[in-house]
Each structure stands twice: as C-alpha cells, then as structure tokens.
C-alpha cells in the first residue's frame, strides 16, 4: 500500500527534511537535527506538521452520548471551546487508542465534537463510532475528516507570542486545553492550547488547502517526528503503538499511567472492567527508567531485576537531549515500580544498571 502523504510533503522535502513511515504516512522525521529541534522547543519555539493525526467529526442530538460512551473521560463536562484527553477502551478496559476531544461550536444547534485518533487509526475509530451509533440507535453524524484537516503543533516558551502576532483577536486568554476559532495568517484555524512536548504552545487545525500559507507564516524552527518523540518522552506522555499496543501489548489506562483520564462516574465501554481494576489494583505499571551505565534503552529490550530475572520490556527509550542521559519507559510488576529502585536493562546482550525515575523526567507546564 502506498504511503499517505501530508499536504506539505513537497515543502518539507525542499526544506531538506528526512522522512519516515509512521502510521501509514510518509512524515518528516528530521529537518536539521533532533538535538537542534528539541532545543528550539525547550528554549524558544518550534513547529511540527502532524497532519498524519486523524480527525473524526461528530455532530447531532446524541453526539455527546455517543462520544461519551466510547471514551473514558467525561465528554458531558465539555463546553464549547473545551477539550480533554481520553482513552478509547474495549469491553475489558484495554486501551484501543488515546485521543483528544475538542468541542467545536454547535452545528445547527447540536453539540459538535472533533476528536483526534492516532495516525492510522482514523478509519477504525470512524467505524467504531458508526457501528455503536447504529447499535445503540443514536442520532449523530460521524464523519472521517482526516483528509480535510492539516494539523500543526507550535510549541515552546515563545509559541504564544509567535502565534499571537499572526492572529487577530486574543489567543492569550486561552487556558490550557481551551480552544477557539481564530484567524492565523489570514486563515481560519481551530487553535487549541494543547500539545505533546511538555511546553506551552498551540495545536492548529486548518483546511488542508491552506496548509502552506500557515506553515510558511510560522517563522520558527521546523521539527520532525524525531524531536517530537524525545520531547514527549521527557514530558512523560505515552505513545500509542509503543507504550501500549492493542494487539501485542494490551494495557489498561491504570497500567499506562493515564488513569486521570478515566471517569468511572460516567457510562462508557470498559467502565465496569476498569472499576474492577481500580478496586483490585494493578499488577504491572509503566515506569520511567534512567540508565546509570552507558547505553540507551530501546523499544523491545528486556528489563531484569538485580537477580537477572526478566521482569519487563522497554516500550520507549532514547538519549534525552535535555538531561543528556538515557531514559526510557517500560512495564514492570508494581513491586519494582517505586522510584529509586535499581533495575537492569539488557542492551545488546549486556546488562546495564538502571534506576526507576518518576515521570515526567523534566519540569513541564
């Protein structure tokens, strides 16, 4: 199957980007260097093209009920211009995907949402919403608009002034997780104070056809998926397909450390199973790791206890540009999850000393 291409594939290519396959898309992984891009976001501002993310539009009298019953957070608490992070779970409370749900202005007087599945999951999530709508006899329109919306993240301590200077009206009033329609470089964008880096900033959703106008007006360091990964890892954000994977590494939100996005006082698929987990407690937990010995933990490496018994697997790992040390995530039995615990990671056959660390690894906003 040919790779899907984001609207600015050519623009990025001309800027000298390297590309990688991600979720079926051909995406820029690096423009200059991960270190340079990472540093720009931590100290100044950087822009990411994340148009590979899905966009599912839900509207109608039962849009709130439908979306609420398929996500773990409390959709009914969202006013227009609010957003929330949530997991999408199956009947057993296992994470299928994680998402951010934006409440858009009402359409014809009916509540309207746009939620953002991970790259490559948009069709499955669209189908999930449609199937359940039909099964439950709800009245809502569900539209997969992934090919209509470009999505940019503008992140870093100077993101607010950069985007603010390009927009009419005041974006500085937006609180974290609030969003509004605003004009950026004369293009109407859905602008949200959200992100995946641990820094302040915005995510912009805009018509695919206007992508180049907005991208080129954002005068700052372009960043690829490489820096996005080092930034999100430092900031303690999980990555779908890596820190949980429905088929190969099924996890509940409690194991994955996103229990804050589970509202058991709402009705949703997986609620009863998750209530049981919250009462009985979890056996394994996603921890943060820092390597003491030289070496870098990578996805799939074994984690052992100090007696060399394998107790878990690394889900994500990198050399942290901010901390200048090797960090990672992985699931281990809860008795090994306490920060300060000494563990070992097997790096190409060699056992390397590691320590459990609290996440996020850095101070975030």
């Amino acid at each position: 199957m040919p790779l899907l291409t984001p609207p600015l594939r050519t623009v990025h290519d001309e800027r000298g980007a390297k590309f990688t396959e991600f979720g079926g898309w051909d995406m820029p992984v690096e423009f200059d260097s991960i270190r340079v891009e990472h540093e720009a976001v931590r100290t100044d501002v950087g822009k990411f093209d994340v148009s590979h993310m899905g966009e599912i539009y839900v509207t109608g009298p039962d849009a709130t009920t439908l979306t609420g019953r398929l996500t773990t957070n409390d959709v009914s608490a969202l006013a227009v211009g609010d957003s929330q992070y949530a997991a999408i779970t199956d009947r057993d409370g296992v994470i299928i995907d994680d998402t951010v749900i934006y409440r858009l202005p009402d359409t014809d007087g009916e509540p309207t949402y746009l939620f953002i599945p991970n790259a490559g999951n948009d069709e499955a999530m669209h189908e999930r919403w449609v199937t359940h709508r039909n099964e439950w006899g709800l009245e809502a329109t569900v539209d997969n608009q992934t090919d209509e919306w470009a999505m940019f993240a503008v992140q870093g301590p100077n993101a607010r002034s950069l985007v603010g200077n390009l927009s009419e009206g005041s974006l500085s009033d937006l609180s974290r997780f609030e969003a509004t329609y605003a004009t950026v470089a004369d293009v109407e964008c859905w602008v949200a104070r959200t992100g995946y880096t641990g820094e302040d900033g915005f995510e912009l959703l805009l018509p695919w056809a206007e992508a180049e106008t907005v991208w080129s007006a954002l005068d700052c360091q372009p960043c690829g998926l490489g820096a996005r990964d080092t930034l999100r890892l430092e900031a303690g954000y999980v990555l779908a397909g890596q820190d949980f994977e429905y088929e190969n590494d099924p996890r509940t939100p409690y194991e994955a450390g996103i229990g804050f996005a589970v509202k058991l006082d709402t009705e949703f698929v997986g609620r009863d199973a998750l209530e049981a987990v919250s009462e009985e407690g979890i056996d394994e937990k996603l921890i943060g790791l820092r390597l003491i010995d030289r070496g870098i933990p990578r996805h799939g490496y074994d984690i052992t206890n100090t007696d060399s018994r394998v107790i878990g697997t690394v889900t994500s790992g990198t050399m942290s540009p901010t901390l200048d040390s090797a960090i990672g995530r992985g699931y281990v039995p809860v008795e090994y999850a306490e920060p300060g615990t000494t563990l070992r990671v097997i790096v190409r056959g060699q056992s390397k000393k590691a320590r459990v660390e609290p996440t996020p690894f850095i101070d975030t906003i």
Binding site: E30, I34, D229, R294, P321, R348
Partner: protein, 129 residues
C-alpha cells in the same frame, strides 16, 4: 544534498572508510552515514590489541534515533582506538573523515585484496546516489 567523499580512501558498501596511513589503516564512517544517523550519542568500540575481520562487525554506533552496527573494511589488529569519541561522540557528526575516526588497524597479509574489494570514492558515490 551532497556529501563529502574524499578520494584518498576506499569504502565499504555499509558506509565505513579505510585510509592507509604511515602507521596502518585508519577506519571511520562516511559523511553520508553520519547524516543518516543524525546526532551520534554513543560509540561502542573494541579494545586495543583485539582483532577485526574484513566485512565483520566490530562495534556499534547509536544516534538519538537509531542503532547501527559497524563493519571493518580490512582485517587486522587494533593499534589504537579513538577514545575521544567516548566523551565527544558528536565528533563523528562534525568531522567523520578526520577527528571522528574510530580505529587504527595493523593490517594483515590480505590487505591488498581486501582494499581491492572495497569501493572507490566514485563507486561509493554512485551507491549512495
């Protein structure tokens, strides 16, 4: 994008170079290879006195995003290891054909045929084009 490919040395298809010097044969990776890897953060090399074999693995290089094996362009005994790389692995990015060298090898009897089996600068250029 164009890459430096000095024609004073020979190349392995896996992106290592070999340069004959007064002391032996110096080994490193190419400009193209360091660019593909991105920010190098870690280089794992054998010790002085160990032997390496033509086209066999001798070490590992890691960047922020990837891990890659290193292959020896020629066989021989290791005379010196570039220990500067342990503290400053970014030398591989900054100067892959100079300060970023990895090994100095005392070549064996097969040096001539091993060098012959490697690619010229022009051939390597064609391979990465």
């Amino acid at each position: 994008m164009s890459f430096d490919i000095p024609d004073d040395r020979r190349y392995l298809a896996s992106h290592e170079w070999a340069l004959e010097t007064a002391d032996g044969v110096r080994v490193g990776i190419t400009d193209f290879a360091q660019d593909e890897l991105g920010d190098v953060v870690f280089v794992e090399l054998p010790d002085e006195g160990e032997t390496v074999t033509h086209e066999a693995e001798f070490g590992v290089i890691e960047s922020i995003k990837a891990v890659s094996d290193l292959y020896a362009p020629v066989s021989g005994e290791i005379l010196a290891v570039n220990e500067a790389l342990f503290d400053a692995p970014e030398l591989v990015n900054d100067d892959p054909f100079g300060e970023g060298w990895m090994l100095e090898i005392e070549p064996g009897d097969d040096l001539e045929s091993e060098l012959e089996a490697l690619l010229s600068a022009a051939e390597y250029d064609e391979q990465i084009a």
